[in-house]
């Protein structure tokens, strides 16, 4: 979309075709999201904070069983680490594959959420002293890694963008979520809620803050070359349904 829009803008200027062709080529070279480009300030940056006003629904006291745990309960990660900030309307690129890992520890997937580029593989090391299983029912990415013992690890490569929810068929309360993007403009906020996405092509874009249960908040943001835009999100956006 973005190159076409530029093309249109160029056409409005009624420039001669050779110049146009040259400009297009130059633009394509310039907007290639590479690290050296960021240094030349040909791209912008978006920063901001994410605030959660409503925690995820309170855990019910009426659970059938006390949650089992081998060892002291680890301090849960901030819910902010379950939020992904990404641009929703940037063109698909071929981002470099990443290596991510979701450990299975204390009957929990840790971290609960990872965001990776398409083609990345995610490892699921079993760090509990018992068997675990990893499976998913998500569309287009249904898989089942089977059960495997303590200390071993299996991994899965995700080639298509989407939301993949991962579960353990042995421990039904375990879940994780993997967001796969076909571009590199996404991030997970820090513990304090701040986030930064570098190398964003200039222009008007839609920035999304997404949480698997709270939902998402979309906002338009204008990125200028060499400048840092600011966008603060306040979740939830979960509107009362009744």
């Amino acid at each position: 979309m973005t190159p076409l829009r530029h093309l249109r803008r160029l056409r409005r200027g009624r420039l001669p075709l050779p110049i146009v062709a040259t400009l297009i080529t130059a633009a394509l070279v310039v907007w290639q999201p590479r690290s050296e480009v960021l240094g030349q300030s040909a791209v912008g940056r978006i920063t901001g904070t994410v605030k959660l006003t409503l925690a995820n629904s309170a855990p019910s006291s009426a659970s059938a069983y006390e949650r089992r745990s081998v060892g002291p309960r680890p301090k849960p990660l901030s819910e902010l680490k379950n939020v992904v900030i990404f641009f929703s309307d940037l063109p698909a690129t071929k981002p470099a594959p990443m290596q991510a890992s979701i450990a299975q520890k204390d009957e929990q997937f840790a971290p609960h959420l990872v965001a990776v580029t398409a083609g990345s593989s995610v490892a699921f090391p079993n760090e509990d002293p018992f068997f675990h299983n990893v499976f998913s029912l998500s569309r287009g990415a249904a898989f089942n890694l089977g059960r495997y013992p303590s200390g071993s690890s299996r991994s899965k490569t995700f080639n298509r963008a989407g939301i993949i929810k991962v579960f353990c068929e042995i421990h039904s309360h375990m879940s994780a979520v993997i967001r796969v993007f076909d571009h590199g403009w996404f991030t997970v906020p820090n513990e304090d809620g701040t986030y930064t996405v570098d190398g964003v092509p200039p222009g008007d874009h839609t920035l999304v803050a997404w949480h698997e249960r709270i939902g998402e908040r979309r906002d338009r943001v204008t990125i200028r070359s060499g400048a840092a835009a600011q966008m603060n999100f306040t979740l939830p956006v979960l509107e009362p349904e009744q």
Partner: protein, 563 residues
């Protein structure tokens, strides 16, 4: 209308007494039965309440436990969570495949729990999938009313669609997050009311804010139950429905919903009373037959002696004379005393009667003697005739009573001559026709005199008819043969014999042999044959007996002849 017999009176009295006692016993019994039934019905309901509480809490606990285990279903959770996430996703449509998986898992769980409906509900109380008998009542998208302020946050009465449900909720958790819940609904409908009724062994009703959700009570009682607004469902009580008394026992409370057990006291009491009545009927039958037997026996021992007494009295009054003494019955002192008194009364009466008769007799004798004394020729005539007729009666083998009648009748047979003037009576010459007519009036006159004395009634025929003849030529009526009473015929013969053998102023007495010959000659015309023969047979005995009689009185006797 005569007074009832003693037996009847005794029977009626004893019957009424028994009936009264039985009635009182029945009244007391039915009151007691009713009281006991009321108590037992209340006790039944109270124990039913305990049973219900135990069974129901156990059931809910079991259900919750089994559902909690079933809720740990990784496939269900994974499918639901994935579906929810995809539904909330910006540009992704929720997969129908995932929904089918959720539905399948819901059906599977529903098959394992005893609930009318099982629903998988998302975080905003929307039904995602439902299974079970009443799944159609909870279609996808149905918003479930929250469980408001109930037994616990996970159990309560919830209104879904048009129905009310007892809902047990179990959260579906992923880590610390709750993605939804499993809701188990038990419909509070008539089916559930029937189950309650079975537990309480009576009737049951489910009420919400005074309205009846369901009940097993039918007919007019159900209408009254629905109209009974002021419900105090916290305590057992008694109410009136359709004119019947009902015991009500609260079973449990679930938010606004009350479960009550109720039973008709009247209906239960009816059966019990009937059973008691049957028993009482047997007792009553026995008591009545005993009373009948007893009263008949009592009446017999009382009435029989009284009957005898009264019969004696009746006989006494009809015959105007006392019979033999009534024997003592020995049944009771009072009766025996009465009998003794009655007997002594009879005895004194008899003696008084005898005395009266003796007095009369004396008077009559005096009268007869005075009559005889009017004419020295006829002196002792009546006494002699009297002796003759008694002797003739003996020859004719008459009973003593008849002989007694004969004796007195003979003594009085000429009493009517009182009315005949002396000059006619004492006339020595032949009587004129008029004088003879005057003489002929004496039988009728005598009868007239005697009629005024009741106890001389049997003697009147001898006085009145002692001049009648078998050939019908006698006076005053001219009766013939057997029309003349035997006593009168006897007296006629004796009178004639004495008259013939007696001297008169105008002639001497004939010899008895002549007189007998004369009598025999006139048998059939003037005299009765049997009487004449009796006289002839009796004469020798009278002479030989040397009876203490006045020699002067019997001039016809041989001895008198010689004197």
């Amino acid at each position: 209308m005569s007074a009832p017999r003693l037996v009847t009176r005794a029977l009626v009295t004893s019957f009424l007494t028994v009936a009264l006692v039985l009635g009182a016993v029945f009244a007391v019994l039915s009151l007691r039965v009713r009281d006991q039934v009321r108590q037992s019905v209340a006790d039944n309901l109270a124990s039913a309440q305990q049973v219900f509480t135990r069974v129901e809490s156990r059931r809910q606990q079991d259900m919750r436990a089994s559902v909690a285990i079933l809720a740990e279903n990784p496939t269900l959770k994974a499918a639901l969570d994935t579906w929810l996430t995809e539904r909330n996703g910006a540009n992704a449509e929720a997969s129908s495949e995932l929904l089918a998986t959720v539905q399948r898992e819901a059906d599977k769980i529903a098959g394992h729990v005893a609930a009318d409906v099982l629903a998988v509900v998302d975080g905003s109380h929307r039904v995602v999938a439902s299974g079970g008998r009443l799944a159609s009542a909870w279609p996808r998208g149905t918003i479930m009313g929250g469980i408001a302020d109930d037994v616990s946050p996970t159990e309560g009465a919830v209104s879904v669609g048009s129905g009310m449900y007892h809902v047990v909720s179990v959260p579906l958790q992923l880590g610390d997050a709750t993605v939804g819940s499993l809701e188990l609904g038990t419909a509070l409908d008539s089916r559930y009311a029937r189950e309650l009724a079975e537990l309480s062994r009576g009737d049951a009703a489910i009420l919400s804010r005074g309205a009846v959700l369901a009940s097993t009570v039918s007919g007019p009682a159900a209408r009254d139950l629905a109209e009974l607004h002021e419900w105090d469902t916290s305590a057992a009580r008694t109410v009136t429905l359709a004119g019947e008394s009902w015991a009500i026992q609260p079973l449990s409370q679930l938010g606004d919903v009350s479960f009550i057990a109720l039973a008709s006291i009247d209906r239960a009491a009816g059966g019990q009373t009937q059973a008691a009545l049957r028993g009482l009927a047997w007792v009553g039958l026995g008591a009545i037959s005993l009373a009948v037997i007893g009263s008949v026996w009592l009446a017999r021992t009382l009435t029989n002696p009284i009957d005898r007494l009264s019969r004696s009295l009746t006989a006494m009054t009809t015959h105007a004379r006392a019979r033999d003494a009534v024997p003592l019955s020995g049944t009771s002192r009072e009766l025996d005393q009465l009998t003794t008194t009655f007997n002594s009364l009879l005895a004194s009466l008899a003696s008084a009667e005898a005395e009266a008769e003796a007095t009369y007799l004396g008077a009559v004798r005096a009268l007869a003697a005075a009559l005889d004394a009017r004419d020295p020729y006829t002196a002792g005539h009546s006494e002699r005739v009297s002796i003759l007729v008694v002797a003739m009666g003996e020859e004719l083998e008459l009973d003593s009573e008849t002989k007694e009648t004969l004796r007195l009748g003979a003594l009085l047979h000429d009493i009517g001559k009182i009315g005949v003037p002396d000059e006619v009576l004492r006339k020595s010459g032949a009587l004129s026709a008029a004088e003879f007519e005057a003489i002929k009036t004496h039988p009728s006159a005598g009868a007239r005199i005697l009629r005024s004395i009741p106890f001389l009634a049997p003697h009147i025929p001898m006085v009145e008819l002692h001049h009648e003849r078998p050939d019908g030529l006698g006076y005053p009526y001219g009766l013939r043969g057997d029309e003349i009473p035997l006593a009168a015929r006897i007296v006629h013969v004796a009178d004639a014999f004495d008259a013939m053998t007696s001297a008169r102023a105008y002639r001497t007495g004939r010899m008895p042999v002549e007189a007998i010959a004369e009598l025999r000659r006139c048998v059939g015309s003037d005299f009765d044959g049997r009487s004449v023969e009796a006289l002839i047979a009796a004469l020798p005995r009278l002479v030989a007996a040397d009876a203490p009689v006045d020699p002067m009185a019997f001039q016809w006797a041989p001895r008198a002849r010689s004197a």
